[in-house]
């Protein structure tokens, strides 16, 4: 069972991202579970959503994810605002929406060398595809393109199909943003990993 935690701010689409990601894995024959951090979230406040992926028939649990295998961060300001790396298992991916290269981000935020880092400028990509606006860009589909590239799954094809099925508006623009993010993701795997 792989556990993924998605960090965003209320209104950014982190919960929908968890559902799209789960559905893309489901298309690959995996058993999945996706759920929000259950609360009374307000726009702009830090929020989390969770995805579990496993083989069909494997035993799952129904709790929050405390020790994720990987994390996805929709807003780079969260890296310093909340402890997004809390409980993250060594060797895990940190996929971040930021214009910075992984090297710069690692130095800036102090990411330990036990983690793999992928960055993508999902905000610029979202705006280019007219997803949201400058005050509130909708980056949830673009960042999933970066996750697919970094983690190697779900396949871009299944991800795009899940996006087209799940997003409430602009399915083609969202799919195009995910594809562009997939192609422009920058990756750094430290030697320790």
């Amino acid at each position: 069972m792989i556990e993924i935690r998605i960090h965003g701010r209320g209104g950014q689409g982190g919960v929908v991202a968890s559902e799209i990601l789960a559905k893309a894995f489901f298309k690959e024959g995996k058993y999945i579970q996706a759920f929000p951090h259950f609360g009374v979230e307000r726009r702009g406040a830090p929020v989390a959503a969770f995805v579990r992926v496993g083989e069909p028939g494997s035993l799952f649990v129904r709790t929050n994810i405390y020790e994720p295998d990987h994390i996805i961060v929709l807003d780079p300001t969260l890296l310093t605002a909340v402890n997004v790396m809390e409980g993250l298992k060594p060797g895990g991916w940190i996929v971040v929406n930021t214009p910075q290269d992984p090297e710069e981000l690692i130095k800036d935020v102090g990411i330990p060398p036990t983690y793999k880092v992928a960055t993508v400028d999902a905000t610029s990509i979202a705006l280019k595809h007219r997803l949201g606006n400058r005050m509130n860009p909708i980056v949830n589909t673009a960042i999933l393109g970066a996750f697919s590239r970094a983690f190697g799954a779900p396949s871009l094809e299944n991800l795009l199909e899940a996006i087209r099925e799940e997003v409430p508006v602009k399915p083609e623009e969202n799919a195009a943003a995910a594809k562009e993010a997939y192609e422009s993701t920058k990756i750094l795997i430290p030697q320790e990993v």
């Binding site: 579970q33 996706a34 259950f38 799952f60 929050n64």
Partner: protein, 390 residues
């Protein structure tokens, strides 16, 4: 080609699994009032009725009391009827829950288990539905979204055979807002399982009659006797219909689910979605050589006394884990399990744990802790609090 092969596999939240179950059951009248975490059930059904995907009348109302009143009336008029609520909403319905039973209206309601206020809390706890224990409704608890869809369909079949209202229960957020794979069956197959609803004494303007009429002491008791007999019948009907369901849909449910119980000395008893986490924990304990299993209570009313006795008799110890509490006594599944075991042969000591109130997470380690605590203890206690700060 077999009909079941035309099933569609998709990813659904628990609340949408309810809505698809209602749609497949060809419900004719829906009335509901929004309340977190039930709201998305009403929203989805309102969508389905607005687009014509579900040919039903959706009656909007100003309160849960009116919602249940509306569907009691439509049920008595001969329409398959549905409502959904949670927590305070269910509490507000209380008076009319008795009414539905007394009038023998086979309404189906989904209750999303949510803690009662104050303190205000929207998260899961079973006390809201269990507090309606004596209203005469059938109550069925669920562990997964697939089970929620299946049980919604089953509930109509059972309710309409015994003319008793039936409550289908799922956990707030842990099921209601969690997405997981669900098989949606072909309509023709559900039609075959669940024929159209017919009420033998449906309200008919050409043949008027009074319903819920006055009954003096010389008649009232017979009405109550008939309701009790219908509950006893419901236990048999539940068995029959879950067996037919298994034949037709390939999923077998029972009054209680038995997990890793074959050679188990110790049994954990619980209901609802916590069972998933408990199974994970028990599988770990099994790897360590511990002889432990789980009995998950699915049917709460009528209470499956014989099955509970069959499963628990002769075990070394039993722990009941309650996500609910009857103040002044104990957890409610604990109380019921203990009462069912009174007079049974080879009755094991039964320990009562209370955990996860108001949505506090119950993690695999919590289950393991409670198991080990039970093993250590000599004398059973009514309430052993798990994780409370005192």
């Amino acid at each position: 080609m077999k009909l079941i092969e035309k099933s569609q596999y998709t990813v659904l939240k628990g609340n949408y699994a309810v809505a698809y179950g209602v749609k497949l059951a060809r419900v004719e009248v829906i009335s509901a009032y929004p309340i977190t975490p039930q709201t998305t059930i009403s929203e989805k059904l309102a969508d389905m009725t607005a687009t014509g995907e579900l040919k039903a009348r959706f009656i909007t109302v100003e309160s849960e009391h009116s919602a249940i009143s509306a569907v009691i009336a439509s049920s008595l008029a001969g329409a398959r009827s549905f409502t959904a609520t949670a927590s305070q909403g269910l509490a507000l319905m209380h008076e009319m829950l008795h009414w539905a039973t007394g009038a023998r209206a086979p309404v189906v309601m989904v209750n999303v288990n949510r803690a009662l206020a104050p303190s205000w809390n929207i998260w899961t706890e079973q006390t809201d539905s269990l507090a309606q224990r004596d209203t005469g409704w059938l109550q069925i608890y669920n562990e997964s979204n697939q089970e929620v869809l299946d049980t919604t369909i089953l509930a109509f079949k059972i309710a309409e055979r015994v003319y008793l209202p039936t409550m289908v229960v799922l956990d707030a957020f842990i099921l209601s807002h969690t997405s997981e794979p669900v098989e949606i069956y072909p309509q023709e197959l559900v039609d075959e399982f669940l024929p159209p609803y017919e009420h033998p004494n449906a309200i008919n303007f050409d043949d008027p009659r009074a319903i819920g009429a006055f009954a003096r002491p010389d008649y009232y008791m017979e009405f109550r006797y008939n309701i009790q007999k219908a509950h006893e019948e419901a236990l048999r009907v539940f068995k029959e219909e879950t067996e037919l369901f298994a034949e037709m849909f390939g999923r077998k449910y029972d009054t209680v689910e038995e997990f890793m119980l074959d050679d188990a000395d110790y049994v954990l008893v619980l209901a609802g979605s916590t069972a998933t986490t408990a199974k994970y924990a028990v599988a770990q304990l099994r790897e360590r050589g511990e002889k432990v299993g789980i009995m998950r209570i699915k049917l709460f009313r009528p209470f499956p006394v014989e099955d509970v006795r069959r499963v628990l008799s002769g075990r070394k110890k039993v722990a009941v884990i309650d996500r609910n509490l009857s103040f002044g006594h104990s957890g409610i599944f604990y109380m019921e399990t203990k009462a069912a075991m009174y007079g049974a042969k080879d009755r094991p000591p039964i320990f009562g744990y209370v955990a996860g109130l108001g949505g506090r997470d119950i993690r695999p380690q919590d289950i393991i802790d409670m198991y080990e605590d039970m093993k250590r203890r000599e004398e059973p206690e009514n309430i052993i609090w798990k994780g409370v700060r005192v």
